[in-house]
Subunit: 406 residues, 4 copies
């Protein structure tokens, strides 16, 4: 790792102007974060905080960084995925905004961890993670630094707030990954979705969003699940539900969004039709058993930039997109800015919340407070030009009473 | 109140054969409850329990009653709504199954409360409620009986389990009320939904289900909300969101599903178009301010069995369906049996759960245990002929570990 | 047949007031026809015409009759289907409007043809048909009257204008039958559509509308077809397409809309699941082979008003709705008034067109002139409060020129 | 123009290997054309024909060229749009398949017409056009060659068969442009469609397909039209319909698909919100009045590769995609191969049809014969693994008879 600019490690600082254009473009679709940034400039809620972030280094993340910096935080940023970095954006952050940035698209495994280490060398008092690589490394390799993290306690999980609320489920997963996964598949293959049998493994929030978008494109959607409640919901939503053993024989396109391992495995590859497309939209590239597929294939070749063709002994061709990494980041541009606006508005407000409540927070995992969700939603509606009703005094009274019913 | 058969009060016992046909028909769409009934006959989990139920007296409720009775319970049943009773079903329960039944379609207010009292006269040790009229009366008028309810404690809430889980939200509200509200509106009016502006007040589970069905019929759906998160979700689902003040001027059909009071009020009636249709699908008939509408109108007349036309001073005609009572019960047949199958399977298993855990339950409100939801869903999938995946040992290990990720 | 009032034959003239309410209710949803009626009163385009109509005798048809009468026509009306007559509407037409009406709900086959004959006894100079029973009888039994029909020619087809245009396909079939078929099935069975496999035989306009509505209710829709272009369109619309042999084994609900015979036949009944529902929404009750089913069954019984259960030797139960007659008329109220508004506005304008152009029309079948379609659509948009763009002079020029393109 | 290889004019012959990979990838999604190619190799239906084609030079068009060549045709190909050429594909056609190819992405206007002339220099006996530039030039500049075109007649329109049938409307426009327009907009902007107001000018086949896809992505779709029948259909499909004057103030994204000129004009730009996106998916770049917009703007700059920002005097920013050229070709990859498969299968069979029937064809425009549509659909269903029903003898008899009805 060479330290290229003010302690950063990025591909090419000359890309900074191009990167700034991308950041500005994203900002137009991030009105909520923009509003929060204006408030942060005034209130300085993160003053004195040393914040380490391990996130996809995209134009939207850049806007979060600028908001956190506006709030007074001292920042260091590394990539949470070797393939998701936009080098121009990284250059703009490093050179134009003097934010310590360690991220190069396509960096090898060693560089990836060197970059995480570089961020930890800044001795953060707060962490921001996407996939837990940063926190995990902190616990395993930097036990001595744990005490530095907010309040000097031993466990860094103090104050960690899970983004399991509205912003995460509704925007990030359902709308964001729903659209961008379809986008990634189409960019990678330019295949027509109408009339295709589209198999989705997993009917969590991402699966639901994806199913809805695939159906909207005229596909015949099939769901596989291991949870009976989710499986039933999929069936009641009009989708066919079956075991993957059976779906493997019917599908034209397969997308895994379970968060689990080897969801598409040897026995499934065996039954698939010639020409199928396999993609993953879960965080880790563990959902498609590529090792098994590689062993089964007589040859592999690149047929389009993000498409690898595995030739099977019986002549069938299986096409794996983006080496099984998350398709929306690897083959498209990840979440649209409007999605990240919600997610990052949430993160920014949570960071301020942790900073303000550090003394009171116990050593456990918290959910995002409801008020933050409601505030973000309210800001977003405002940005969309939508006004909603408020309860009348009579209605408030009614809701607070058991007595007025028939 | 005349006691007509074995202590019951129903319209006409001669309707019993017809009622039994309806109960049998419903049973075909209630495979989950049927399976539980078979188990209950063997296990007798409700043996010795005196159970008072205040529910809509429909063919589906009858199947729940037969299941609870099969489980050993001693039952008394009254109507939870004066308009929702099917007299033939009530007759069959009273005469063919010797279940104490107090319910007559169209009964007046006095009879309604006499029927609740009749049920309480049976000194229940467990209650089953839909809208809280039974529990409410128990607390207000029968304080002395409170101690009799499971375990002899003072508060009857012991052991009450809220059906706030899967079965309630997903089936009852989203799928059930979604379809049956549309059904009720069409039966009442025979109006074409395609091309109509369909305003839904409230985007909770019922509102979501209803919006989806109205959109599926080609309507242009408008949502009003007071909660910013729900309002935003509606907007992201592609629906227009606005204040009711504005929606009132655009809508052709209005349905309230908020659980609140006077959601459609004087100022809204003022701006509505000639010929609009107003319906309520919330539990109580408080959502449309009929008193105000009555005062504003120069005359009211019945134009179809479930349609009242309010003539306004300026000549506009506003059509209120089923006097603002829940449209799906008043103008259609309420939830399809398949919906009640899920809801009642849940209730039956919960009753058994309370009976089994009475000693351990604290004096507070519980949510339905996850296992009951999963079990009901599993039984339902089985009945639908759907098999789903199970986690492999490797997948279980992966999910239980933080370490295997990239 | 007894002639009850002014030469009419209806069930009970005392139902006339109730019938008039239904006619008035329908009129509110028929703004296009209302507008045409106002014009007809002034222009009297049908003056001197003797018009015989063989149509479903519903409240919407009544509004067409009143419009034709307003235009100066001398009318006689009989039912085009023994089960579709609304007796109250028939009474109102006969007594309050002095229109010769021959229709009694549930009339037997002999009465049905007596009624057609009664209408032909009026020596029509124009006919209006729905299913060709009237024209067919005219050709077979009343050859001598053929010359009386507009222009004294031998062939009555002179001036017949097929409603194969917009109004028929778009409104009548797609939107009208789409909604009302779903309505009929739900009224007949109260079954939940979500999660059901819904098989539709035929992907013409009715099949398309029905598929869209069933999908909107959360069903998994399967299409069967004999035409490759339609089959492909169904597949590209995201529906599964297969042979009926295969669909018969998967379906929960089957609806035939092909216009053909024995689309559901012996071999299909053999493979069906227990509890399936069979309905027809094509014009004739020939699509389900009930004769074969009857032979295969060990018994048949009525389980709900419009549901007959066929018990098979192996214990399976097949449920046929409305004896295979068109489900939307037999179990629901037929097309919503808004649909018939379009269809009947078209018929009224076509009648005026024939009257005006009788001399010029050749002896062949015509399609509805485009101008009538556009005029009806324009009137409908106006009634919906929708204004649309008009071409600018520049745009007209552009469209008329080949030269301005790049 | 320099003639680079065997008389062709392409960007760089070294791209040929890459181009061949793209052609092969497209071939996987073009099973129908592949099947026809196999037949053509055997039958040689185009033997002796000199065919001039003016088409988008993409990997799918390459597969059509290979099929026509396999059928015996002597080919020359030029681009039908300066921006749609894939240089690698052009290289592969020119060098690996020795097809005379004249197409360079981004070529200027002079080169564009030089390329058309080069194709005409080959003295075609049959033409294949997309937008009429070739035929138009033939009529204006090469009147002397008109006689050479099939059969030596004066008018080249002899034998031209309009692709107004299934393949064109259903696949090309509805499914193809529907998906690829969405794809182009997302690639150009990475904007989230959910929650956006999406205005579509024109509800022809493209507009319908696009509306369906936009709705499937969670957008609130608004339609503008000048035709009352189409406008009404849009309204009945659940979309809002209004004048562009009004839509201009509400929309977030605008797409024109009318085939007309200045559909988005000065007065519309005036009322638009800050940040709107303007795209065209009609054939010519005449639908957005860029001249007017340029005059109104204080400055224009490129903010993403296919996005130009027009800064208005009042500070609003309007974003025009791909300079108003067809967005699906300019910002994405045009139609998916599966769409072009249908369209080109049709073209190939039509070419054979013209060759076989040249003597019989009159000097007028023909529609594609029904049999070709049915054959293409049948081949496609076969390729999708879908089998459909065939009429039984009894059903054929029934359809051929008027007599068997009730």
């Amino acid at each position: 790792m060479k330290v290229s600019a003010k302690g950063s490690d990025v591909k090419d600082l000359k890309l900074a102007v191009e990167g700034q254009d991308l950041i500005d473009w994203a900002a137009r679709e991030m009105p909520v974060l923009t509003l929060i940034r204006q408030r942060f400039i005034k209130d300085q809620p993160l003053k004195g905080l040393k914040l380490a972030a391990c996130l996809h280094v995209t134009s939207e993340t850049a806007n979060l960084m600028l908001t956190l910096k506006a709030g007074g935080a001292d920042l260091a940023l590394c990539a949470s995925n070797p393939l998701s970095t936009n080098d121009a954006v990284a250059a703009a952050l490093a050179s134009q905004h003097a934010i310590k940035t360690y991220a190069i698209r396509g960096e090898d495994n060693d560089t990836y961890y060197e970059h995480i280490d570089a961020v930890l060398d800044h001795h953060p008092t707060m962490t921001m993670d996407d996939g837990a690589d940063l926190v995990s490394r902190l616990h395993k390799e930097r036990k001595d630094q744990l005490a530095e993290v907010i309040g000097g306690t031993e466990e860094t999980t103090t104050g960690v707030i899970r983004l399991r609320a509205m912003a995460k489920h509704m925007f990030d997963n359902r709308y964001g990954t729903g659209q961008s996964t379809i986008d990634g598949i189409i960019r990678a293959t330019n295949v027509l979705l109408a009339g295709k049998t589209f198999v989705i493994a997993g009917y969590g929030w991402v699966g639901r969003g994806l199913a809805s978008r695939a159906k909207g494109h005229g596909a015949d959607v099939v769901i596989t699940e291991v949870d009976s409640v989710k499986a039933l919901e999929a069936a009641m939503d009009g989708f066919r539900v079956m075991k993957m053993d059976e779906a493997a024989r019917e599908g034209d396109i397969f997308v895994t969004v379970t968060g689990d391992v080897n969801v598409l495995d040897r026995k499934h590859f065996d039954g698939m039709k010639d020409g199928v497309i396999l993609a993953n939209s879960g965080h880790f590239n563990s959902e498609i058993n590529l090792k098994a597929l590689d062993e089964m294939a007589t040859g592999v070749r690149q047929v389009r930039p993000a498409v690898q063709e595995y030739k099977m002994r019986d002549g069938r061709r299986l096409h794996v997109l983006a080496e099984g990494r998350l398709i929306n980041l690897a083959a498209a541009e990840g979440h649209p800015a409007a999605v990240m606006d919600m997610s990052f508005a949430n993160q920014a407000l949570c960071a301020a919340y942790i900073a303000a409540n550090a003394a009171k927070l116990e050593k456990r995992v918290y959910d995002v407070p409801d008020e933050i969700d409601k505030e973000v939603a309210q800001l977003k509606l405002h940005a969309m030009g939508i006004a909603i009703d408020t309860l009348t005094a009579e209605q408030e009274r009614y809701l607070n009473s058991w007595e007025e019913g028939t």
